[in-house]
């Protein structure tokens, strides 16, 4: 196998973590995790808990590169597609700088499942960088994926909800088999994506086979019923020694 260094687009959520885990299992030489911290509403990246990615990286023991959003001015962009493109600019620049530093990037792991929007843009970027893309979740059946994650020992906490049918009780809930069953039912009723691919919910992986130690959290929940939206207000987080 080519030993050019790989990077993992990593938010700390279950999908990017699963892509990373699969890459590691298949012995891709992942040398960096890259997290984008967006300002305000993001159209491409997981908003909450990205700060926690740093903690996760320490547990995984791979260096994490944080892309700060100061250079993309999403607030002035109104169109959804333009905003997605604007968010890509600092990421692409960061990866180029990284290539200058550690050598040409062999490939990128990405946790996209069904979002063409996300996948198309990452594919295009990687083509420009001459890098491969590893997207082990792409077009896999959501329920089976979720089950595989849980069975592999992923400890997944729901940190944000934003969909009809997901109320406050889902905040802080662990994604287990019972939760999957409920999500499947909500999928049938309201079209909620079982893995939250439409932004229905966001997660944080607090433990897993790729991590040395679990993450512990202190949090409060906040939920706005009129916006059908809520999230964990994480007050403290630490690695268990």
């Amino acid at each position: 196998m080519d030993t050019a260094p790989w990077v993992s687009l990593f938010s700390g959520g279950k999908d990017s973590s699963w892509a990373l885990y699969q890459a590691l299992e298949n012995e891709y030489p992942v040398e960096r995790l890259v997290t984008v911290h967006p300002d305000g509403d993001s159209y491409m990246y997981h908003v909450p808990a990205t700060e926690l990615a740093q903690l996760a990286a320490r547990s995984i023991d791979i260096e994490l590169l944080a892309v700060r959003p100061d250079s993309f001015e999403t607030s002035s962009v109104k169109d959804v597609s333009e905003q997605g493109d604007a968010e890509l600019i600092p990421l692409e620049r960061t990866l180029k700088e990284l290539a200058a530093d550690i050598g040409p990037i062999g490939g990128v792991t990405v946790g996209a499942v069904e979002s063409d929007f996300q996948n198309d843009r990452v594919q295009a970027m990687c083509e420009r960088l001459g890098a491969d893309v590893y997207a082990p979740l792409w077009h896999e059946p959501p329920r089976e994926l979720a089950t595989a994650m849980i069975d592999a020992g992923f400890e997944i906490t729901i940190v944000q909800v934003a969909a009809y049918g997901l109320d406050e009780s889902w905040l802080g809930r662990t994604l287990d088999h019972a939760a999957i069953d409920e999500l499947v039912a909500l999928n049938e009723e309201y079209g909620v994506h079982v893995l939250g691919e439409g932004g229905e919910y966001e997660t944080l992986v607090t433990d897993g086979p790729h991590m040395d130690v679990p993450i512990e959290l202190d949090y409060e929940t906040e939920f706005d019923p009129s916006a059908t939206r809520g999230r964990l207000q994480i007050t403290d987080a630490w690695l268990v020694d």
Binding site: D41, Y43, K78, V80, S81, E114, S115, D116, F117, Q118, V161, A162, A163, Y164, G165, L166, L186, Y190, G191, V192, H193, E197, G198, G199, E200, S226, A227, T228, R229
Partner: protein, 730 residues
């Protein structure tokens, strides 16, 4: 061969001669005697024993109808009658007189070509007479008049020929006013005006089994003086009169002579009741009453037979119904197979081999049909949804007393709503507390009694609860609705619809399944401006969605979800989760995520719902409550007590006047306050008052009662007892 069997055979023969068929309904105010009339017509035609007629009330087939002495379900009978030496087949649909059951009346009118309007000579036309005649005329049904209880003018009021004729002329004039008001062209040009001279008016006594009309008087030589004579000479006189001028001959002659046969009626009625392509084969077959054409059967009523199960009755407009046919039922997938075909004789069903076009039939096997279904041998445009003047105004919870009865209760409730589409059922399998909504307190009482007695299911019922509406009073600003994932935005405003447009929508005269052009014209005729009418996207109840956006990518494929979200917002209004009516909702703009997975139902529905609710609140949405017209007939000495009962119920007395020896109090009152009126008025007037109510739509509830009522409803529904923050105008 039994007499009855002979009649059945004769009916079967006549079925194939549409020129000798008359399909008619009797329509009247409660207690004006149409069930007695029906029985005596049946007796005259040899269908039931004469001794029993008047007592038997053959058409009141439900036990509770006979107990109450009022008719609840429209039931059908067929009879034969000889007119001008030719036998005629007369198919008669009985209709309920109590306004609580108005939906049945409208449905019956769809199946008939003539309406025999029955009016009590003493009481004259009543609010319900007007409602029923209007329903008939709206459906294009030709009226004729029978003035009943003429004996009371003679025996009770001691009137002479002069006074009597004056009074009868008054009744005729009132009925004609109604006809002219609803169908002026037909009144002026097609002889729909009822008159003694034309023979479209008959007088008599259904109870004592005699009647006269101008043609009968000319034939028998009996005049008003003679009638008075006969009536004053005791039983013998009345018997003589009955023999000289029997009710059934006079009335059925009038029916045979003046009501159109199906061959004459269907070409004109099909365009009134059916909106499909007028040049299609099926339209031609229906207009031609073609018994070899495709089967077209319109179900007007579903009844239950303990042995045969569900029985669908209605009018065959084309083709011939036979056992074993596989027929399509509008609004459902697949076909149902006809198990048996028959006609009704009183409360009994007679199976026959076949029922051809132009007749009233009853069939078993149509398990998917409900009252109002179109049943056909080829898929076709259904008859427009049957129009109801009456929407449910009152709701009651029903619970089985024993857990074991739960499945049976649910089945029975579903059955009830099939038989009577004016009943709305909400099944809640989680709590076991089901809701039934209907036309009035009595309507619901009758339904629950049927469940208890016919099905033997002991039930506990809750207090009756009035159904409210929510209505925006002003135009709102444009409001933004954001999807939970914040990737989609909708910009919505509302404004109130005009009364005329609300009425149009409630009558179903502009609906989603109409051709767009036709719907647009109907809306514009009711006052909608052209630009708005061009952008109509959807109609939900008495609300309209206008899509004012232009060329937004992905909006087309998302519109279905927008409509769904809007539907939820309108079914459960922002004030108290009561249905919204009279809102014109404009979609001005939308911003959608380009990726379909980010704009699914879980995102779009709550965004639209929230935007619609906020817009409605900004439009000063208010609670509407149903109101009823109330008429109380009461002796003079109790008039104060009677009008007091009305005024004490947030009611308004509009008129008080003398009629005969009674005082009439007319007014309106909210349905909510009318609960329990029956016993209160009885005790206030020592049982001397008779009264009648009629649903009269919805009106905005007084401002000082809004908050309190909203809170009561919210508490009852287990909602938060606080108003949405932006509602602060009370």
């Amino acid at each position: 061969m039994g007499r009855r069997k002979k009649i059945v055979q004769e009916c079967e023969r006549l079925m194939d001669e549409p020129e000798h068929i008359r399909n008619i309904a009797i329509a009247a105010h409660i207690d004006h005697g149409k069930t007695t009339l029906t029985d005596n017509l049946l007796a005259g035609a040899g269908m039931i024993s004469e001794d029993l007629a008047g007592e038997q009330l053959a058409m009141d087939t439900e036990e509770d109808e006979q107990e109450r002495g009022i008719t609840i379900d429209a039931a059908n009978v067929s009879m034969t009658h000889e007119w001008e030496d030719t036998n005629h087949l007369i198919n008669l649909i009985d209709t309920p007189g109590h306004v609580d059951f108005g939906g049945d009346v409208t449905r019956a009118m769809r199946a008939v070509d003539g309406a025999l309007v029955v009016v009590d000579a003493v009481e004259g036309t009543m609010p319900q007479t007007e409602t029923v005649v209007r329903q008939a005329l709206r459906e294009g049904v030709k009226p004729a008049l029978f003035i009943n209880k003429v004996d009371r003018l003679i025996n009770e009021l001691q009137e002479g020929p002069q006074e009597m004729q004056q009074r009868l002329q008054g009744v005729i004039q009132d009925v004609n006013e109604l006809i002219r008001g609803m169908a002026e062209e037909k009144y002026e040009e097609e002889g729909w005006r009822v008159s003694v001279e034309d023979g479209t008016v008959a007088f008599g006594s259904a109870l004592y089994n005699w009647a006269v009309s101008l043609p009968s008087m000319q034939a028998t030589g009996i005049d008003f003086g003679d009638i008075i004579e006969y009536n004053r000479s005791g039983e013998d006189g009345i018997r003589e009169l009955k023999e000289q001028s029997p009710l059934s001959d006079v009335v059925l002659d009038m029916v045979a002579e003046h009501f159109p046969n199906p061959l004459d009626a269907q070409p004109e009625r099909i365009p009134t009741v059916w909106r499909g392509d007028a040049d299609s084969d099926i339209a031609n077959q229906m207009q031609a009453v073609d018994e070899d054409g495709e089967v077209v059967f319109m179900v007007t009523d579903i009844g239950m037979d303990p042995h045969a199960g569900e029985i669908a009755s209605g009018r065959v407009f084309s083709g011939t119904l036979e056992r074993g046919q596989d027929l399509y039922v509008s609004g459902t997938a697949g076909t149902n197979r006809i198990q048996s075909v028959g006609i009704f004789m009183g409360g009994e069903r007679e199976e026959v081999e076949r029922v051809p076009a132009g007749n009233i039939a009853c069939v078993t096997g149509l398990r998917d049909s409900i009252a109002g279904s179109t049943v056909t041998s080829v898929e076709m445009t259904p008859f427009e949804s049957i129009e109801h003047i009456s929407e449910p105004v009152i709701t009651k919870s029903v619970e089985a007393q024993h857990m074991d009865d739960l499945p049976k209760l649910i089945e029975t409730l579903r059955q009830v709503s099939k038989e009577d589409p004016t009943i709305k059922i909400e099944i809640n399998e989680d709590t076991g507390e089901h809701l039934i909504s209907g036309q009035g307190e009595l309507h619901l009482e009758v339904i629950t009694q049927r469940i208890e007695r016919n099905q033997g299911i002991p039930v506990t019922t809750g207090e009756p609860i009035v159904v409210f509406r929510e209505f925006p009073r002003d135009a709102s600003d444009v409001v933004e609705g954001i999807s939970p994932n914040r990737h989609n935005r909708f910009y919505i405003s509302v404004q109130p619809l005009s009364e005329e447009l609300i009425e149009l929508l409630k009558m179903g005269d502009a609906s989603n399944d109409m051709p767009e052009l036709e719907r647009r014209e109907a809306l514009m005729e009711a006052g909608m401006d052209k630009d708005t009418a061009l952008n109509v996207e959807h109609i939900h109840g008495a609300n309209i969605l206008i899509d004012d956006t232009k060329g937004i990518q992905h909006l087309n494929e998302t519109m279905e979800l927008v409509i769904e979200g809007l539907g939820e917002a309108l079914d459960d209004g922002p004030l108290a989760a009561e249905p919204v009516e009279g809102a014109l909702i404009r979609l001005h703009d939308a911003k959608l995520h380009e990726d379909a997975i980010h704009r699914g139902p879980a995102q779009v529905i709550p965004a639209v719902r929230e935007a619609a609710h906020n817009a409605l609140i900004d439009g000063r949405i208010a609670l509407l409550e149903p109101i009823q017209n109330v008429r109380i007939d009461v002796p003079n000495e109790h008039m104060g007590a009677a009008s007091g009962e009305l005024q004490g119920r947030r009611g308004r007395v509009d008129d008080m006047y003398q009629e005969g020896d009674l005082m009439v109090v007319e007014g309106i009152a909210p349905v909510d306050e009318m609960i329990g009126f029956a016993s209160d008025i009885r005790s206030a007037t020592e049982g001397r008052a008779s009264w009648n109510t009629e649903n009269a739509g919805f009106q905005v509830m007084a401002d000082n009662l809004q908050t309190e009522t909203i809170m009561e409803i919210r508490e009852r529904k287990g909602m938060k007892t606080e108003l949405p923050v932006t509602v602060d105008y009370f």
